[in-house]
Subunit: 409 residues, 2 copies
């Protein structure tokens, strides 16, 4: 059951001038579902992408990196679900290239102008015959799907599609941003998460878009975890078609740049949080806030130690204020010179531990009250510096195990 | 259900001359169970200990370190279950010291000659009144309990007591080693695990015992994980009473030293593996073997990434050869210059992936056959050096969540 998340409403997702969508059924893993998505971009669109740092990155990630480096003008993004094309060796790479080549032929563009994305089971080869048969369908029907169709077509273990829009006024003209994302398990993005796409009609140069995307990623997809498993296919892509009449965004620190960056980051955070809210088996949405660290890096170590601890996550699931488990996770997070006597711990507004020990005024019923909520903030004060970080995660239920024990069946 | 583990038989656990045992019921958390253990040592015993690297170490760990540094001759070890005395601040430290002082009074020794150990719930103060009332019982009844009683008294979520013995011949005289351990969850030892004790009547100097213990720990308790949560109370202690008539062990590399070291390490491994076999909710015992690494450190990174991945562990639980999840874990283990094209993966004798992709001859039914076993070896060949490592872990079931969602109730 997703935590305070509902399906997006089609009419509230704004079309982005310069982006045409299409979906199709290729039967890659399951019949009778859309498992192919095409994003067809206007000429001159800027496209920026960040990808998984997993050394076992999927074949399409390798191809995306090549094609983005090429700089010959991306015109199409194609996404398949049901198969991740990861751990597939040289044949997997050839299949990703063949997908681009075949689609490019349909669209009358070069293969290097296509970015391929895959998500699904790992270490199985793509069913190329079925996939290639589906490509003419999406190529022919471009423009026929909306963003909700797109968000739905890329789902795997997601229980709900994830999509949102923003409008921001740049130089008196409105600019639209619409994004979609998918992912529920194997979520511990390191650069980006399992497939997120944001498109805008703003005019943004490649260089500026790269910088904006990096900043938005750090504040959103790089600040969530479900199970600590960094995916082989994490990809987050921003597209700027430049079709808006608003003036071009020429830098990240100009007034317009800041306005646009805020909208982009805000949208990225909403999508990233949606992934956590729909985390496999999740019943709680947990914000982990670590403050007073010497560096952001050490704050992140502490936040991830808490966010990944099966013991902490099962305590949240049980609504059990067994909060010593959080202190234990702080202790093993890897800060070698951490002084436990400096640590304070809050659960929402409740002071649980002061100076490394249970606070004298802490009452179990106060902890219990907060633990019963569907949304909880854990706040750890390290009291050794001015750095801080925020991580969003979920709890850990029997349902997570059931989902992942049955994933392929 | 523990994996291929049965309760030790009392008559097969050998008494260690120079060690007298006692257990008592102090009602620390639950009534009608032994929750206090005393090990009473002959004068002149060498005692070596390794402890958690968790910066939130428990109060008794701090006191143990102090008393061992003191070097005034340890004569008694006292263990309570039901409460870890961790995350308890200054009061917790005072309580650990009071425990030592009170017991020392009963035994006619100095407080600094007592090592205290605690295990159980974190961030609650010890019930000192009940604890102090129990101490005269164990002090008065020393010599009345056997090693099986001792192993049983220190259990928490363990389903079976863990104990074993070895006999080794040194200079024609037999030397006995008997050890006990406890732990099932919060198991990712970093130095040692949640309470392990090995006693021997061998004559071993403090210096040599320290070295032997370090070596045995690395090969045993530092090579297991259940859930990745490094405990606040991990303690592993070796005691050498010197009561055997065998010649003293004067170094770790002498013939006798090697013989003894082998027995000590072997016993440590049996106890460490027993903890994994009895891991919370475990249904499978998994050996992760990583070979061909550039350094042992990078092999350990890969082994732990596999051993901690909830996705890998749930696939083992389901007997589902969804083995791409193992490759994904290898990829995010943190070896920055890892070349996926160099990786081979075996499941027992079955070659699953070759050169980073699914092996052409791999058949799903072969993987399925191995996955159905109760004991499985995952072998990853990095093919970039000569270093290797072994890690023992277990799978991840709904039962783990249930146990830890209900731990305090």
């Amino acid at each position: 059951m997703p935590v305070n998340l509902s399906a997006p409403i089609a009419s509230k997702l704004l079309a982005v001038p310069g982006v045409e969508l299409a979906v199709a059924q290729a039967g890659i893993r399951k019949a009778n579902r859309h498992d192919l998505l095409l994003l067809w971009l206007a000429p001159g669109s800027s496209v920026a992408g960040v990808f998984t740092r997993n050394r076992f990155c999927a074949a399409p990630v390798t191809v995306c990196r090549e094609h983005l480096r090429n700089g010959s003008g991306i015109r199409a993004l194609v996404v398949n679900t049901g198969n991740a094309n990861a751990g597939t060796g040289a044949l997997g790479l050839a299949n990703a290239r063949a997908t681009c080549a075949s689609l490019a032929l349909q669209l009358g563009i070069g293969a290097e102008q296509v970015l391929p994305f895959s998500t699904g089971v790992i270490m199985e080869q793509l069913p190329m015959e079925r996939l290639l048969k589906g490509l003419p369908d999406v190529a022919a029907s471009r423009g026929s799907a909306n963003w909700l169709d797109a968000a739905t077509a890329i789902m795997t273990t997601d229980t709900l599609p994830k999509a949102a829009s923003r409008v921001v006024s740049i130089g008196g003209e409105s600019v639209t941003l619409t994004g979609i994302a998918k992912g529920a398990g194997m979520i511990r993005p390191n650069m980006a998460t399992m497939l997120g796409f944001i498109a805008t009609d703003a005019r943004v140069s490649q260089h500026v878009l790269d910088a904006l995307l990096g900043r938005a990623t750090d504040a959103s997809f790089n600040a969530i975890t479900v199970d600590g498993d960094t995916s082989t296919n994490d990809s987050f892509v921003a597209i700027a078609t430049g079709q808006s009449r608003a003036p071009a965004i020429t830098g990240i620190n100009t007034p317009d740049g800041k306005l646009f960056a805020r909208a982009l980051t805000d949208l990225s955070i909403e999508l990233a949080q949606a992934i956590v809210r729909d985390g496999e088996g999740a019943t709680k949405f947990i914000t982990v806030r670590v403050e007073g660290g010497a560096t952001v890096e050490e704050c992140r170590k502490v936040a991830y130690a808490i966010g990944h601890s099966p013991l902490v996550k099962t305590a949240f699931f049980a609504s059990d204020p067994n909060l010593g488990r959080i202190l234990a996770a702080v202790g093993y997070a890897g800060i070698d010179d951490l002084d436990q006597a400096g640590i304070d711990l809050y659960l929402d507004d409740v002071l649980v531990a002061k100076n490394g020990g249970r606070d004298a005024d802490y009452r179990e019923e106060d902890g219990q009250r907060v633990m019963r909520q569907a949304e909880i903030t854990v706040r750890v004060l390290l009291n050794r510096g001015a750095a801080s970080t925020t991580l969003w995660t979920c709890d850990f239920s029997q349902e997570y195990v059931s989902i992942n024990a049955a994933y392929r069946s």
